[in-house]
């Protein structure tokens, strides 16, 4: 073990050189560590996104099938001049409950759209909203849009942050079967309404009865909602959130225990396709299922670019570090060729000569890895912030492109995933982009695995450098080494 003592004596005696070597090794290890940590954090973020971002499956009436049915019935009636009527079958809650029992389905929210006319108050009218359009599910037009939900927190507008409760409370599943409603703050201000007040609306379909509604909460819609109105759409302030049962009552008795659309939350986005396949077996061709895992895909895409950057950092620093460290080690060992000659003249084995250099550099590496471990989180965190900011900007741009491509949908039709009538399709995408940005935040933390990988990489670098440097010297006769 004398080679270990020699290594120690050398490190102690040449403090300046040892310190420089430690600093260089520490710097290289620090950047490799930062890369490894970013890469690991990005992978963890993707894994976490799989579990936390969530993916949804939306069950709605099959419009394609309905159109096909409309055309065939029109042709068979022998009255080609008659105006065709599209009949969309609402989703039966019994079917919904069957799907909800499937494995990996975490829960569901129902959406029922209806229309009504304000009776005890004035609806907000805009130049383009004198008449609201017919809502999905066959609701007749009215100046008030009724958005029936199983809970406001589960509705897309609230989940995406496009609407928030400012007074009172939101609707909960316990509000089913009640007349409790949540109205928009502008509508409340206009009519001096407050939480606890009762308003009346008249149904525009079914029995066309008047219904008393109790205000339990007031929400504020994002200012962009009005700007994103489609032509002919009712003002977003006229949207009243009710329980799905109340919305069905307003639409008429035949809509009892149905919904326009149901959004199922799948606990693991990776299982979303499998759940959709199983759910498809439970529904008839009158309904259709659509996937919505854009949040997951956005985070995945964002993290993909971060992982790619981290990969490049690791490889570039590892390659550059190997070259720099190898050159330093080669120079250092060549400088010590005379010492090698003396050792060989004494009969020291080549293995032990290499072992001495290895022990010296191993000690340097230990300190270097220590520096990298101590500073890895800080440097990795700073680097990660920059990379994530860049990746999130790209994601927003992509979402913007998606948003632009979706603005051609029919007015008043809720986008996949639901939303109040009148809200433009694509707004949810922007919300998702925001959510993806939040999800894309990396938690850079030094892990035992990263330290082990770094240490292994460092060991490989110094071993290769020592062998490359010493091989040329050790093959020589001691006399030649000492003479040269």
């Amino acid at each position: 073990m004398n080679f270990m003592k020699r290594a120690w004596l050398n490190l102690i005696a040449k403090k300046g050189r040892s310190l420089l070597l430690i600093l260089v090794t520490g710097a290289i290890m620090l950047f490799v560590m930062a890369g490894l940590l970013i890469k690991s954090a990005a992978s963890q973020a993707v894994a976490s996104a799989k579990n936390s971002v969530g993916a949804t499956i939306t069950l709605t009436a099959n419009r394609q099938a309905a159109f096909k049915k409309m055309r065939s019935s029109n042709a068979s009636s022998g009255q080609p001049g008659k105006r065709p009527s599209l009949s969309l079958d609402p989703v039966k809650l019994s079917t919904v409950k069957q799907i909800a029992r499937l494995k990996n389905v975490a829960g569901y929210t129902t959406t029922v759209s209806a229309a009504a006319n304000a009776k005890s108050f004035e609806a907000i009218s805009t130049s383009s909203s004198a008449q609201g359009p017919a809502g999905p599910g066959g609701a007749s037009s009215g100046d008030i849009t009724i958005s029936g939900v199983s809970s406001t927190s589960g509705s897309t507008s609230f989940a995406a942050g496009k609407a928030k409760i400012t007074k009172g409370r939101g609707l909960k599943t316990s509000d089913r079967g009640t007349n409790n409603v949540v109205i928009e703050s502008e509508l409340a201000t206009q009519n001096s309404l407050k939480v606890g007040d009762t308003i009346t609306v008249k149904a525009t379909s079914g029995t066309k009865k008047t219904h008393s509604l109790k205000i339990v909460g007031i929400y504020q819609a994002a200012s962009t909602a009005a700007a994103s109105m489609g032509p002919g759409a009712s003002d977003p302030a006229n949207t009243i959130f009710t329980s799905d049962t109340l919305a069905n009552t307003l639409k008429g008795s035949k809509y009892k225990d149905t919904a326009d659309s149901v959004v199922f939350t799948v606990s693991a986005p990776s299982k979303v396709a499998a759940v959709k396949k199983q759910a498809a077996k439970l529904i008839s061709s009158k309904y259709s299922l659509s996937l919505d895992d854009q949040n997951y895909q956005m985070v995945k895409s964002s993290m993909g670019s971060v992982t790619s950057f981290a990969d490049k950092v690791v490889w570039l620093v590892a390659i550059a570090g190997t070259i720099i460290l190898a050159l330093i080690v080669i120079l250092m060992i060549r400088e010590r060729r005379y010492e090698i000659g003396i050792l060989m003249a004494m009969g020291e084995s080549r293995f032990k000569i290499i072992a001495q250099f290895f022990v010296e550099l191993f000690a340097v590496l230990l300190v270097g890895v220590g520096i990298a471990t101590a500073g890895g989180s800080y440097v990795g965190g700073k680097l990660a912030d920059q990379v994530v900011a860049s990746a999130a900007t790209n994601t927003s741009q992509t979402a913007g492109q998606v948003l632009g491509s979706k603005t051609g949908g029919p007015a008043g039709q809720a986008p996949s995933g639901g939303g109040p009538s009148g809200q433009m399709p694509g707004a949810a995408d922007a919300a998702r982009a925001t959510q993806a940005k939040q999800q894309a935040k990396l938690t850079v933390k030094v892990t035992a695995k990263a330290v082990a990988i770094l240490f292994g990489l460092g060991l490989a670098i110094i071993l290769l450098a020592i062998l490359a440097a010493a091989a040329g010297i050790l093959r020589l006769q001691p006399k030649l080494i000492l003479i040269q």
């Binding site: 004398n2 004596l9 050792l343 003249a345 009969g347 020291e348 084995s349 006399k479």
Partner: protein, 229 residues
Amino acid sequence: MLETENLTYWYTNQADYLFQGEHLQFEPGHSYAIVGQSGSGKTTMVSLLAGLDTPKAGTIRIDGQDIAQIGLAHYRRRKVSVVFQAFNLFTYMSALENLMTAMAITKAAHAGDQAFAQAMLQRLGLTDEQMRQNVQRLSGGQQQRVAIARTMVCDAPLVVADEPTGNLDEANTDEVIALFNQIAHEQGKCVIIVTHEPSVAAQCDGVLRLAHRTFTWEKTPAPQLAKKG
């Protein structure tokens, strides 16, 4: 004890050999000087005897064993100790650490015995303080004494020195040669010194001259040590 048989060496061209077919014999308990002009091949000869290089032809035997068969690394570790003009000490160690390291590498009987190493350095005139200092802070004479002490603490029966007094003044030279003779006469080792100084050669028991690519005994310690053939 140490003998060469048909020893031949050349660098690049066989016709320009340094020496050829040399049969030499060195006995323990004596000091030998190899003299000759610069570039004649003296250092090459001691390098071969020390196992630092391999001959082009011929063999070197120690106690009847071919050193090539023993293994040159093993031979250098256990059978021979080398002293150079430039001292060849580990510059990052103290005198004491140099001796301890040499004893450990050569697996000497006293390996790990610091008191033994200290006593040897004291015997060669180094104070406690000097032996614990980095060797680069010692004078040339002191460093050479450390190098000689290194050969004394190791158990190698053969000591080879290449111009060991080249960097020393006259007083130190005499002291060093006296030490080599001490090693030979008191420890019973075979000491071979390459030198260009006649005064050094004169203090050795035997003198071998390399001239015109041939070794010739100028002085022999005993009749049986004369060059064979």
